[in-house]
């Protein structure tokens, strides 16, 4: 809103200036015939488009609530947050799915964070100019690989590798999913972390270098700590991407809805919330308890992603408003 007013004011003040320069004409010239009408038309169609986007999001949200909320009445909380997900036996324990999602997501972040930050540091601080120019677009391309292609790669290359090297019965495990998700979260993490490192003022580097810090000490003890809020945002955004990802995860995690309780369940099949919804939605009877439960999972997922995004957005907001050490 503010920007539009500003530009309108600017335009009118400009036109009055032009009018002042032209001899023999005083004051503001009348707008050319039809112009204000066109202006009105464009403005209102933009407004309609903008509001309809908001409207659609709200409608989707209401639909999700309408279809999902009944589950919290139809099924007892003890069942709903139990450990067993067998919808055919009226057992709707979502806990293994929630923990499954959390497990895969956390594991993928544990892999992607060091890799992503190290890559961002390399691109921004170490790589020569031409390498940087090659790497940056390559990483953007990485983000564009369809997840089903990655899933395919995961099934046929990564899973057999996991099975043979870890000596486990199947390669379709939480770990396999985590590696794929890490790969998918990497472009986001790298580019946001790189921006964060880029905004660390050069004077910080100078100050550290002038104290006799080596290049590496400067990066590790000054630049990265100064960029940490941006790096945290990067991780949050990557996490948001990982937790919502469906296809690749469904293809490589084995989809067994069991509780991943011990550490070695990292190398056993798990089932995530997204995979459950995607796999079962096509088969349920419209309006049944099972149907509602899948939408219930959708609500839980929505809330989790929403929370993660809020945390990330707050970090960005804080960063902008703190000034100084951006």
């Amino acid at each position: 809103m503010g920007a539009r007013h500003l530009s309108l004011n600017w335009a009118s003040s400009l036109s009055s200036k032009i009018a002042g320069l032209v001899p023999g004409r005083k004051g503001k010239p009348p707008p050319p015939a039809g112009r204000s009408y066109v202006e009105f038309l464009i403005e209102s169609s933009i407004r309609v488009l903008g509001f309809s986007t908001i409207g659609f999001v709200l409608l989707i949200f209401f639909f999700l609530l309408r279809e999902g909320l009944p589950i919290f009445r139809e099924v007892a909380p003890a069942n709903l947050f139990g450990t067993r997900w067998y919808p055919t036996f009226d057992l709707f324990g979502t806990l293994p799915l929630i923990i499954g999602s959390a497990y895969v997501t956390v594991a993928s972040i544990a892999i992607a964070l060091p890799l992503g930050v190290a890559t961002a540091v390399f691109i921004r601080e170490v790589a020569p100019h031409w390498t940087r120019e090659v790497l940056k677009p390559l990483i953007e391309v990485l983000a564009g690989i369809p997840s089903v292609v990655l899933g395919f790669f995961g099934m046929h290359v990564l899973a057999p590798l996991v099975r043979t090297t870890m000596d486990v019965p199947t390669g379709l495990t939480a770990f396999t999913g985590a590696v794929l998700l890490a790969y998918m979260a990497l472009p986001t993490i790298i580019s946001v972390a790189e921006d964060a490192i880029d905004t660390v003022p050069r004077s910080y580097r100078d100050a550290a270098l002038a104290m006799g810090a080596t290049h590496w000490q400067t990066i590790w003890r000054v630049v990265v700590p100064a960029a940490r809020s941006g790096i945290a945002t990067a991780v949050m955004l990557g996490m948001g991407r990982a937790i919502g990802e469906t296809m690749a995860v469904m293809m490589v995690t084995g989809n067994a809805a069991r509780m991943p309780i011990s550490l070695n369940s990292l190398f056993m099949p798990v089932r995530t919330m997204t995979a459950t919804v995607a796999a079962e939605m096509g088969e349920v009877a419209n309006g049944s308890v099972h149907y509602h439960s899948l939408f219930g999972i959708g609500i839980i997922l929505f809330i989790l992603t929403f929370l993660i995004n809020i945390v990330a957005a707050t970090a960005i907001f804080k960063k902008r408003h703190r000034g100084g050490l951006r």
Binding site: H129, S203, Y204, R205, D206, A207, A208, L209, A210, M211, G212, A213, T214, Q217, R221, V222, P225, A226, L325
Partner: protein, 252 residues
């Protein structure tokens, strides 16, 4: 002639296609305050940054000529840049305390240099804060965050941080540009003490300051070194017309 601590020999320096320094040669005697002054864009800060090789990290630059520290070219292959920068400390225009406490800020460089002796570190901490004329104000709150200090205190903290490394040469790039007159006075006074121990090169933030602190002064204009003479002469009887115009405020 006094022994030169730092000498620049025929320095040409380019940022891309722009020449920032044009065949500059000068010698800086030990234990004195040398001033680089002149209008913005004259190359004085560039020369300062070359003396501790801070411009190494700036891309697309080119340099010819030599800079000698104790008659050794600091751009030789076998020079360890980190060690050079411990010998040649630098204080910047904006006070830049690193995140952390006052104590950490001063001892950080020592720890980077590998010093572990706690007593020695505490000793140096006090000594450098005293030298930077800030000890009395902050001795009771060494463990509060450095960002809680006022701007003037932060700048003196940064000076202390450089002094803690016991450098031989101290470079100051407009160290008082963000300070109030009282803090400025304190910094300038401490310079007169510090020159007993160190060789000081300063880019002042005004001609008045240049005249107050200079033992010798070099006037830079558009990358050329115009005049380099003792402070008592250059500010009273400049030889070059351009120096005179600048000092008397005809341009700048």
């Amino acid at each position: 002639m006094v022994e030169k601590k730092v000498s620049a020999e025929n320095i040409n320096y380019f940022y891309g296609g722009n020449q920032a320094l044009r065949d500059v040669s000068l010698g800086v005697p030990a234990h004195s305050v040398t001033v680089f002054f002149g209008p913005a864009g004259g190359g004085k800060t560039t020369l300062l940054r070359l003396i501790n090789r801070l411009n190494d990290m700036v891309e697309n630059t080119r340099m010819t000529g030599r800079i000698l520290l104790d008659n050794k070219n600091i751009y030789d292959e076998d020079v360890d840049v980190a060690i050079l920068r411990r010998r040649v400390g630098m204080v910047f225009a904006l006070p830049l305390p690193l995140p952390g406490t006052i104590r950490e800020n001063v001892t950080y460089g020592l720890k980077l240099a590998g010093m572990r002796d706690g007593h020695r570190i505490a000793e140096i901490l006090e000594k450098s804060l005293v030298q930077a004329a800030i000890w009395d104000e902050i001795k009771d709150r060494l463990d509060s965050p450095a960002s809680s200090l006022s701007g003037g205190q932060q700048q003196r903290l940064c000076i202390a941080r450089s002094l803690a490394l016991e450098p031989e040469v101290l470079l100051l790039d407009e160290p008082t540009s963000g300070l109030d007159p009282i803090s400025t006075r304190k910094v300038e006074d401490s310079l007169q003490e510090l020159k007993q121990l160190y060789t000081i090169i300063i880019v002042p933030h005004s001609i008045q300051q240049a005249a107050r602190v200079a033992d010798q002064a070099a006037f830079f204009l558009m990358g050329d070194l115009i005049e380099y003479r003792p402070g008592t002469e250059i500010f009273t009887t400049p030889r070059d017309k351009r120096t005179e115009d600048y000092i008397t405020g005809r341009f700048g």
